[in-house]
Symmetry: C2
């Protein structure tokens, strides 16, 4: 692979935007943005001062690296559609949920370039703190992906398909489900006309402790104390919110069972 | 109430120490530390250069404010024991879980002075970020507690018994249950020999987002996207951990139901 690789991004979502901008700012310009909907890909191509096409037949035949940054459930379809126009390029997706092997039937060289972070358009990623989980079908490509990840970030891990599958489940717990617990707290306070800001310092302390030591060891509260009176009082208070009551019950029992598997 | 109130603290635990030192440093010296065990209360009285007694009959009869800073399950007993020696003093406890009304049978003037944070002896409280939840049986006392909280902190809220009960449930979700989601993530990674540090940046981002905007609005992931394929794959991966599978299922459905109540 030459010194400055020819990079093509397929897609124009949050990851395409963030990775495209970051790669460019680190001296790895994007040669082409390609996708199905011109109105979506054009703004990204303009932001990156590069070419775009909404026709896969125009995919750069000399691409060194094709980064498929599309929704999980579109990856296979896109792979199938671009396959006829990909020569010997390395093709990777950016998904935590999708096996790299899904690309095997379509490409000679394939891999995964998965930044483990939840991106949003409004927030600038802190690249030095994003773990890049990479994998590739051959060692040269793996080395290239590791080096590229190190160029735009700091933390790089080789993670195989099986590991990444469970990593993604873990991320759903640590991110989406923890956030849902925050959301329920917010709603409960709202029910009593209390501002969510009341919870902020406690949430910060929860995180600080979980980062400092094992969250299992740092657990506090009525469930881990086995404080059945408080638990029962809480379940009664949640009587009118049966779904949250069930979650309270399930989470309390799970804390009590002490994570034994 | 005069300009510099006569303050008595009952108890010598973490909250007694932190509040006593903070009040003194803000020009509100403690007139007396009282409790049952001399060896516990003497060090605090010495640290605050004040008097102490382990005999409730010596409770200062001229106290303006008696701050009962003892464990939840000791509050009522202490109230009963000091009641005969309390004249017209304002008596408050510092508990989130205990109704202020519990003090009503014992005192003419009562209230709650609840700093919503988990204190530890090793960590200095960030007073400007601790919400003080106060309540009192009359408006003059409420104003005094609000002013005092504002003097030693920054965030002051009037929170009645009913609100504080639900606030406590909310704190279990935002603290214990969010932490349990972190703990499950840790266990899942451990199953595949992946370090928990991989999750740290995602956890930090989850918190940063939840503090910046409504966690409900900031939700991402397969559940809120309705990505049934990913959800099904995750449920299959959790087949051997039935309890976490059930939690995954319940939390996903709860996110999907969009917190409508």
């Amino acid at each position: 692979m030459q010194a400055t690789p020819t990079i093509v991004i397929v897609g124009s979502g949050r990851i395409a935007w963030h990775l495209g901008k970051r790669l460019k700012s680190k001296g790895l310009p994007i040669a082409q943005i390609i996708g199905r909907t011109a109105s979506n890909i054009r703004p990204l191509a303009e932001a990156l001062s590069t070419n775009w096409s909404n026709d896969y037949t125009e995919l750069r035949p000399d691409a060194d690296w094709i980064l498929v940054a599309v929704r999980d459930d579109a990856i296979e379809m896109v792979a199938k559609q671009i396959a006829p126009y990909v020569g010997e390029s390395l093709v990777t997706h950016t998904s935590g949920a999708t096996p790299g092997k899904m690309l095997e039937p379509y490409f000679q060289r394939f891999g995964v370039f998965y930044p483990l972070q939840s991106f949003s358009m409004e927030r600038s990623p802190v690249w030095s703190k994003i773990p890049f989980c990479v994998d590739a079908s051959n060692d040269t490509d793996l080395l290239f992906l590791k080096k590229t990840a190190k160029t735009i970030g700091n933390l790089v891990y080789r993670v195989n398909d099986e590991q990444r599958a469970l990593l993604h489940v873990a991320a759903v717990f640590a991110n989406n489900f923890a956030n849902h617990c925050f959301a329920i707290a917010e709603k409960l306070l709202d029910e009593k006309d209390l501002p969510f800001e009341l919870m902020h310092p406690l949430m910060e302390e929860t995180l600080a402790k979980a980062l400092q030591d094992s969250p299992e060891r740092m657990q506090t509260g009525p469930a881990v104390r086995g404080d059945v009176d408080t638990i029962q009082r809480h379940l009664n208070l949640l009587e009118q919110y049966p779904e949250w009551r069930d979650l309270y019950d399930g989470l309390t029992k799970s804390i009590n069972s002490n994570l034994k598997y």
